[in-house]
């Protein structure tokens, strides 16, 4: 598929449809391609599309929308939800984007490979189903389903929600219950819940990777960087320190988060940040009806709508701490 994408990109550059291409460039390892702009056919020789191209390019379109001319962007099915959501919020310009909906059969998580104790990786090759990891300490064969990104286990499906053309086949890789993680926590006692989140959040180093990668966190200036709100902070000094940041961040993206999973993917401390967002998604679905942010660009987000019969906040204590 990579060749197909490169060729099509070259065509679109050549016929003037687009003036640049936003995609992934081959990294210095097989598993770390980086997001890059390609301005010429020549540069496109470094273009790569493989199992490690998990990065969601939608957010980069905010900056690309400010540039002259049209940008070709490759979006995987789940990335298109983010793009739609950004469209809803006027953060990207549809006319500045030429979207190739690119096929996706699930993306891989290098951390899961490393978690198997594999280190000294010199190369990764493979098919859609399995990969061979070569290391200085020996070679390993791993089934892809064991090293998929968390988001792929709860795949939103193979449909692209917005695109100009489609290239490549997609597969729905869902094999887990999206809300299982949230339910497991809901089932805990308050003490267990608190202990769980304190342990997770105590790792937070406030590097802001989760925020900066998040397509919903697209504020020009985050409240946590702004001196206006008396909320500006970089890091606190107590142990359960970053709760405020994470609660508010999740709240600000509630109803807007497409559950793209980038926050959890990028967290250097492996904090399962999606558990915050999914809690809101679960509550929204249960209390206000099923809602998938980014499914289309003309939806009204749950937190800017209401019904006369909405549940009262007391429902939280009525449902009780299970």
């Amino acid at each position: 598929m990579q060749e197909q994408l490169i060729n099509r990109a070259k065509e679109l550059l050549a016929d003037g449809t687009v003036v640049r291409v936003l995609g992934w460039r081959r990294g210095d390892m097989d598993y770390n391609p980086e997001v890059a702009y390609f301005n010429s056919a020549d540069e496109l020789n470094d273009f790569v599309y493989n199992g490690f191209c998990g990065a969601n390019l939608s957010k980069y379109m905010i900056e690309a929308s400010k540039l002259e001319g049209r940008t070709l962007v490759f979006l995987k099915p789940c990335d298109t939800y983010s793009f739609n959501q950004l469209l809803t919020e006027h953060r990207v310009d549809r006319d500045k984007a030429y979207i190739i909906g690119v096929g996706c059969r699930g993306k891989l998580d290098i951390e899961k490979i490393k978690a198997q104790g594999i280190t000294g990786i010199t190369g990764i090759t493979g098919t859609p189903d399995a990969v061979k990891v070569s290391t200085i300490y020996g070679d390993f064969d791993i089934a892809c389903k064991d090293i998929r990104l968390e988001r792929c286990h709860v795949c939103k499906g193979k449909e692209h929600r917005v695109y100009d053309e489609l290239i490549g086949e997609s597969a729905d890789t869902r094999d887990a219950d999206r809300m299982a993680g949230v339910e497991a926590i809901e089932a805990m006692s308050p003490e267990e819940k608190f202990a769980f989140f304190r342990a997770e959040l105590s790792k937070c180093i406030r590097c802001n990777a989760c925020r900066n990668v998040c397509p919903a966190c697209s504020c020009r200036k985050c409240v946590f960087d702004s001196t206006k709100f008396d909320s500006a902070q970089k890091a606190n000094t107590t142990s359960f320190e970053e709760k405020m940041f994470h609660i508010i961040r999740a709240f600000h993206v509630a109803g807007r988060c497409t559950d793209c999973g980038e926050c959890s993917r990028v967290c250097p401390q492996g904090i399962p940040l999606h558990l915050f967002n999914r809690k809101f998604i679960k509550d929204i679905n249960e209390l206000y009806g099923d809602y998938q942010a980014g499914e289309s660009a003309d939806q009204r987000a749950p937190l800017v709508s209401y019904t006369f019969e909405d549940a009262e906040p007391g429902i939280v204590s009525e449902r009780g701490s299970k």
Partner: protein, 662 residues
């Protein structure tokens, strides 16, 4: 830093009895930004206010905290005092140490401690207050009245008499409304048309009044003093400037089988019609659904017979856009549908009718030319049963939970009129309660019973069953005799509940005026502002606000007119300065705030922004201060904190939180 003066009021002993006022002064004086603190028995008195002026003059205060009664009581007083002393009135904050403290806490230690904390919170807020300046907006000196019934007509006349231009928009072909359909009015029994028609004529002839009949409001934008309204003037198919109202077209029309709306469907009318003889304007409309010309392309007889050449089949709907300073809503009511009340056999028997239908039956211009007769066979009835509270006071989904208010009186009126004109007819009224609060109302009801021999039975009718002989079997209970009774009647009249006209719902949305669960428009305050909508510049007239009879409607119409006149009399409106404000540097232009704004006060502009040296075109939110009412919904919806509320800013509230929690 601010230079704050703190003034602690004793309120006689109201505060001083449970709050150690001196201690509050002492503790407040210790706060870093406080340069002056004193107490006084009555801060709201002239002398108390003079203290403020004196301290401002002597100590150069920049902010003021008054620890006293609720800000809802005297905030305005102290703001004015501050203004007189030369301080911006919005630099004043009140610590409510009476209603929220001294009156509810018995223990003086507790009360004092809480008062000190409340004072600190107010001081913390004032530290962050900034002078605010009310804005101004112009007033278009023209009013719009929506609905041309007695309420709308009265409001329009009153506004016009005060010298302001008024437009009436009426959706039917004539003004007059429900009152035009009535035969007589209680408790005087005078003829409805006789008292209404002169008003209609007066409105039509008034040089300040324009009447748009057969028209509907399509779109409303703007805000108090400056509304822009699109009115759809539906195609009448008649050139009103040519029509002489001779009526020949209606006589000659070949399509005469349409049910007359005016006669509640009890009679028929032609396809080209005026609803009733005294209609204003006396210009017919063509019902295009019924007209043979429109249906088949043939016919055209009306055009042939019209000497004035007024018939215009090509006429199109017209949109008129006009500006108004005030809007009076007078959309009135209709009776509820009785489809769900099978037990009263309304849909099964022609002789079961609603009271409003009875009005038409009794009226000389009605379907029976005013003769009381059964609609099924034209026979003279021997016994008429009235059923009260049909669909009113119902807590189930079939009816309405409220009392329709007018039924007791008009039923007494009907009973009396029938007994007066046809002494041979027996009249029985089944009631749950007879409600007659009103001048001469109970006397009126008693006359029906005592002088006219109307038989009132306490108990509801359970069932009306049409009998093979054409009569109606009424099964009811007599609660006072504790009996179940079965009566044979020839006609049954149902006092059907009234509900707001269905057009009010979409209209309320356009007006951003709130409506209650029964679709009645909500008043700004149920007791103190009963004729104003919470949305500024919108006034309520007649039954659209709640059930009422004619005198009440006329009274309210007048009141609404006075409120509108009060608004139109101003050249400029000062706007509340506690409005939302977007920080252009932080705004994402995401539209989230606009989505929650109930007033449509937020719009977006693409502007060149200089963000600390970065220059770029950005889509940013702009708040219209005249529209914004300062609720703050947008400030919380805004993720970046760009939207803030002046007077209740994020930092001010946080400072209060901090002061309380420290």
């Amino acid at each position: 830093m601010q230079r704050i003066g703190v003034f602690v009021c004793h309120c006689g002993s109201n505060i001083a009895a449970t709050v150690d006022v001196k201690k509050v002064v002492e503790m407040a004086a210790r706060e870093p930004s406080v340069v002056h603190a004193e107490d006084y028995p009555y801060m709201c008195s002239e002398a108390g206010q003079a203290k403020i002026a004196q301290a401002v003059a002597e100590k150069g205060l920049t902010g003021i905290v008054v620890c006293s009664c609720s800000p809802r009581m005297h905030e305005a007083t102290f703001r004015k005092a501050a203004e007189r002393a030369g301080i911006n009135p919005f630099m004043v904050e009140i610590a409510n140490i009476r209603e929220h403290c001294s009156w509810i806490h018995k223990n003086i230690e507790e009360g004092t401690e809480k008062a000190i904390i409340l004072a600190r919170a107010a001081i913390a807020k004032v530290n962050l207050n900034a002078p605010l300046f009310p804005g101004e907006s112009r007033v278009t000196k023209r009013a719009l009245v929506i609905g041309g019934g007695i309420a709308g007509i009265q409001s329009a006349l009153d506004i016009a008499d005060a010298g302001y231009e008024v437009d009436i928009v009426e959706k039917t072909p004539s003004i007059g409304g429900r009152m035009a359909q009535l035969d007589k009015t209680f408790p005087t029994l005078d003829c409805s048309a006789c008292i209404l028609t002169p008003k209609m004529v007066e409105a039509a002839a008034h040089e300040k009044i324009r009447i748009y009949t057969y028209s509907e409001v399509e779109k409303i934008s703007g805000f108090v003093g400056d509304f822009t309204v699109d009115i759809r003037k539906k195609a009448r198919s008649i050139d009103a400037t040519k029509c002489t109202g001779c009526g020949v077209c209606q006589e000659k029309c070949h399509s005469k089988k349409s049910l007359s709306e005016f006669n509640r469907g009890l009679g028929t009318r032609s396809a080209i019609y005026t609803p009733f003889a005294q209609a204003i304007p006396n210009v017919p409309v063509i019902d295009r659904e019924a007209c043979i010309k429109f249906k088949t392309g043939k016919c055209g007889v009306c055009a042939k017979v019209c000497a004035a050449g007024a018939i215009d089949y090509e006429q199109k709907d017209e949109i008129i856009t006009e500006k108004y300073g005030a809007i009076v809503v007078a959309t009135g009511f209709d009776t509820i549908k009785l489809d769900k009340y099978d037990e009263y056999a309304y849909n099964q028997s022609k002789d079961v009718i609603t009271s409003l239908e009875l009005e038409r039956v009794m009226n000389a211009a009605g379907p029976t030319k005013g003769h009381l007769e059964r609609l099924s066979d034209g026979k003279h009835p021997e016994h008429i049963v009235f059923v009260q509270c049909v669909g009113s006071r119902c807590s189930d989904e079939r009816g309405k939970p409220y009392c329709s208010k007018i039924c007791c009186m008009y039923t007494a009126k009907h009973a009396m009129l029938i007994r007066d004109k046809y002494p041979d007819v027996k009249v029985t009224v089944f009631y749950i309660d007879v409600r007659t609060p009103g001048k001469n109302f109970d006397e009126f009801y008693r006359r029906a019973v005592e002088e006219y021999g109307v038989n009132y039975i306490k108990g509801q009718v359970g069932k009306v069953a049409p009998q093979p002989d054409g009569s109606l079997l009424v099964q009811a209970s007599d609660l006072l005799d504790n009996k179940q009774i079965k009566l044979k009647a020839d006609m049954v009249v149902l006092a059907t509940a009234i509900e707001p006209d269905p057009s009010v719902r979409p209209l309320a949305t356009m007006l951003t005026a709130s409506i209650d669960t029964n679709n009645f428009l909500t008043e700004a305050h149920p007791k103190l502002r009963p004729v104003e909508s919470p949305t500024a510049g919108i006034f309520l007239s007649g039954v659209c606000q709640g059930p009422k009879d004619i005198p009440e409607t006329v009274a309210q119409a007048g009141a609404a007119a006075v409120k509108a006149i009060g608004l139109l009399a101003k050249d400029k409106l000062t706007t509340n300065p506690c409005t939302a404000k977007a920080d252009e540097l932080l705004c994402n232009g995401c539209s989230t705030c606009a989505n929650v704004c109930p007033y449509g006060a937020i719009s977006y502009e693409t502007k060149l922004i200089n963000d600390h040296g970065i220059r770029e075109d950005r889509r940013v939110a702009v708040v219209n201060n005249a529209l914004c009412q300062g609720c703050g919904a947008c400030t919380v919806a805004c993720p970046s904190g760009a939207m803030d509320l002046q007077g209740f800013s994020n930092r001010q509230i946080i400072a209060e939180v901090d002061a309380i929690c420290r």
